[in-house]
């Protein structure tokens, strides 16, 4: 209806503006596709490889000619079953425990950092940052000796404790930032409404912090789940060896066959929980629950 009243010049201007808008959105699409291909191509390649038979591995094609689930059978019910399933169990257990401990400790710590004014607050934050910057590889050798002499070598706690050193700093930093966003007044209002400090924390702060805690937990879980250096150095048997380390111990059916197919299948299986987690908690991660708490 507005086009009727437009002069030709104005109509031309509008067309140009629309074209420019379309051009920028095309630009965004191109960038998005490039990034998606860049990130997902290796995953797709591994997925394709995991369905190849040993004979097809080096045929130079991307897709398998005769897709077969033999690799999955091998690691789930076949020869590598014992190696893979116990490693999977170790990975799940160790990562979840390390995540839980990290999140509980970090929640309390971050809450104190965000709310209280105590001497040494800066030091806590700086030290935790320094710990996360410390190269893992330089810690492995002394830990190896220490763990052997105190009996933590090749046990779950022997991995959980070093994982905490990786997950705690990041958890403290993310959670502290998150707590700082929650308005002080909410807690004060709860106290005036008759809550003890603990009740205020439990009934007001924790539900509001839930998205932040989820985000932190997922990040912490990934860190523990993806670790390789500690996993391979501080374990020696199936008692505690996690999946990333176990992959290195896969062998082919005979010494002339490479285990690439089985490793790919195992890699796909360990990627699934990560993808599932992100999809399940995407909403929680993104949702800004605090909107509307204050004027906005």
């Amino acid at each position: 209806m507005s086009t009727e009243t437009l002069t030709p010049e104005e109509a031309e201007g509008q067309r140009r503006a629309r074209r420019a808008k379309r051009n920028t959105s095309i630009g965004w699409w191109v960038i998005t596709i490039v990034v998606a291909v860049w990130c997902l191509f290796p995953v797709a390649s591994i997925l394709a490889t995991s369905f190849k038979t040993p004979g097809e591995l080096s045929n130079g094609k991307f897709l398998p000619d005769n897709p077969s689930t033999s690799n999955y059978e091998e690691i789930l019910v076949g020869d590598s079953q014992e190696l893979f399933l116990s490693a999977l169990w170790n990975s799940i257990g160790i990562s979840i425990i390390a995540t839980l401990i990290a999140v509980v400790l970090a929640t309390l710590c971050a809450y104190a950092i965000a709310r209280l004014d105590f001497p040494g607050k800066k030091i806590v934050l700086t030290v935790s940052l320094m710990v996360s910057m410390f190269p893992v590889i330089s810690l492995v050798t002394p830990l190896f000796n220490l763990w052997r002499s105190i009996g933590l070598y090749d046990t779950w706690p022997g991995l959980i404790i070093p994982y905490l050193s990786l997950t705690l700093p990041i958890a403290i930093w993310t959670l502290a930032a998150f707590f700082q966003q929650i308005p002080w007044e909410l807690e004060q209002a709860a106290q005036v409404d008759g809550a003890t400090p603990l009740q205020a924390f439990r009934k007001v702060i924790v539900p509001l912090a839930a998205p932040g805690v989820f985000t932190t937990a997922i990040i912490a879980f990934f860190i523990a789940w993806n670790d390789f250096v500690y996993g391979i150095s501080l374990t020696s048997t199936e008692a505690a060896r996690p999946v990333p380390a176990a992959l290195a111990f896969f062998t082919g059916a005979s010494q002339f066959e490479s285990p690439t197919g089985a490793i790919s299948a195992a890699a796909i299986i360990v990627t699934i929980p990560v993808v599932l987690l992100v999809m399940l908690f995407q909403k929680q991660i993104v949702a800004g629950l605090t909107s509307g708490a204050v004027k906005g």
Binding site: E185, A189, Q191, G194, Q199, A293, V294
Partner: protein
């Protein structure tokens, strides 16, 4: 219901800065007291000390005669409405209002939660919004939810921390009226912090004016307006604010005359008597004390006097008009006025006089005009101490007493209405 007593309350921060200095205040049961002052005067700090969110450095806080300095906020049984409402974003409106009841459930147990929430929601017209989250409400509705959370508690007193400052002007006026009615119908002791003097004047039974942590004057709005104790209170209360003119008192042939930069104003000798022995005084004249001399009633004429001045410009507003007279003060007075402006958190006081003239006046700027000024109501201030030399303490006390009687009557009427309903 409760009375609140503050005795020599002091709040010192770690750097030794006293945010609140030696404030004593008695708040009677059912009274609506406003704490007002420019930003940084300690009014919010004082409120937060009453509710228990700030420690009291020294002095004593009593609620119903019991010392409460050390009690935790939850044990004081006070309800507070925060400036940004502080609603719990993860709870529905219903649960927000029910929150204090759920916490207290173990403590008293009397009366069902649902019944109380529904009653508060009905009172505040929130019934249809009970299932919504605060994020989906408008500013006024959020404000009401915050009030609902306070009402449902049956707390001993309500504390308001600038509750209307986040609302737009129209809604503010409406909520102001609602708060006033609510307070009267519940008859609950209320302390209300604001920097808005309209809220202070319209809501308060008594208004406490604070400046830099020091209590200046506690009185009914009328007393503050008509009998201010000092320059600060006189300048802070009233809009447009009181004009301050430097003047010397001279005895002329026609009686006592105030020589001001805008002209000589004859005043009654008894008004001038207080300024004996001072070579310079500040004269406080409210804008509405001026009038176009041609429009003044014969009967009113003798209460004031007429002088000639020239208006620099004129603003016609329909129901009245503002005439401005500019003057050149000397350096000392200029500094005094700008200090006063800084105290009041205002922009620099321009050396000009604002006069409120009736709308039908045909005076024009740029020409000498005859202005009448009501000299029986002007105040004379000591420029050194800022003290009001012409304050009639008795007349002021009478105004506050009348306000107190008015409050008693309104509370009694509210109780009667309740009794009839029951």
């Amino acid at each position: 219901m409760a009375s609140i007593t503050l005795k020599n309350i002091v709040k010192k921060y770690d750097d030794g800065f006293p945010a609140v200095n030696n404030v004593s205040l008695d708040i009677a049961d059912g009274e609506f007291v406003i704490l007002v002052g420019p930003s940084g005067c300690g009014k919010s700090t004082l409120l937060r000390m009453i509710v228990g969110l700030e420690d009291i450095t020294s002095g004593e806080l009593q609620i119903n005669g019991r010392r409460m300095n050390e009690a935790a906020p939850k044990d004081r049984n006070l309800a507070m409405v925060f400036q940004n409402y502080a609603l719990y974003p993860h709870l529905t409106v219903y649960e927000n209002i029910a929150f204090p009841l759920r916490l207290a459930k173990d403590a008293n147990g009397g009366g069902s939660v649902d019944e109380k929430v529904q009653r508060a929601a009905k009172m505040l017209e929130l019934t249809e919004h009970l299932d919504r989250k605060p994020a989906n409400l408008s500013g006024g509705q959020r404000q009401r939810v915050a009030m609902g959370r306070a009402i449902v508690r049956e707390a001993d007193a309500f504390l308001f921390d600038e509750p209307l400052s986040n609302l737009d002007a129209k809604l503010r006026g409406q909520m102001r009226a609602e708060i006033a009615q609510l307070q009267r119908s519940l008859g609950v002791t209320s302390v209300y912090v604001t920097h808005d003097q309209t809220e202070a004047m319209t809501l308060g039974d008594r208004v406490a004016v604070l400046k830099k942590g020091i209590l200046q004057q506690v009185a009914s709005p009328r007393e503050l307006y008509e009998q201010p104790v000092n320059l600060f209170v006189a300048g802070f209360i009233g809009s447009p604010s009181m004009n301050f003119l430097p003047a010397t008192i001279t005895e002329g042939s026609g009686g006592t005359v105030l020589s001001t930069p805008i002209g000589d104003i004859p005043i009654p000798a008894d008004r001038a008597a207080v300024a004996q022995g001072k070579d310079l005084v500040l004269v406080g004249v409210r804008p509405e004390f001026f009038e176009d001399a041609t429009l003044v009633d014969e009967a009113k004429m003798p209460k004031g006097s007429v002088f000639t001045a020239e208006l620099s410009h004129l603003e016609w507003l329909g129901h009245e008009q503002y005439g401005y007279i500019e003057f050149e003060p000397d350096e000392k007075v200029r500094r005094l006025l700008s200090d006063l402006a800084a105290d009041m958190d205002a922009d620099e006081l321009r050396p000009q006089v604002v006069t409120t003239l009736s709308a039908e006046s045909r005076v024009r700027p740029g020409r000498p005009v005859e202005l009448w000024v009501d000299t029986s109501r002007i105040h004379i201030f000591d420029p050194e101490s800022g003290e009001n030399l012409t304050r009639d303490a008795e007349a002021g006390a009478e105004l506050t007493r009348m306000a107190a009687e008015e409050r008693e009557r309104e509370l009694a009427a509210a109780r009667e209405r309740d009794a009839q309903k029951a």
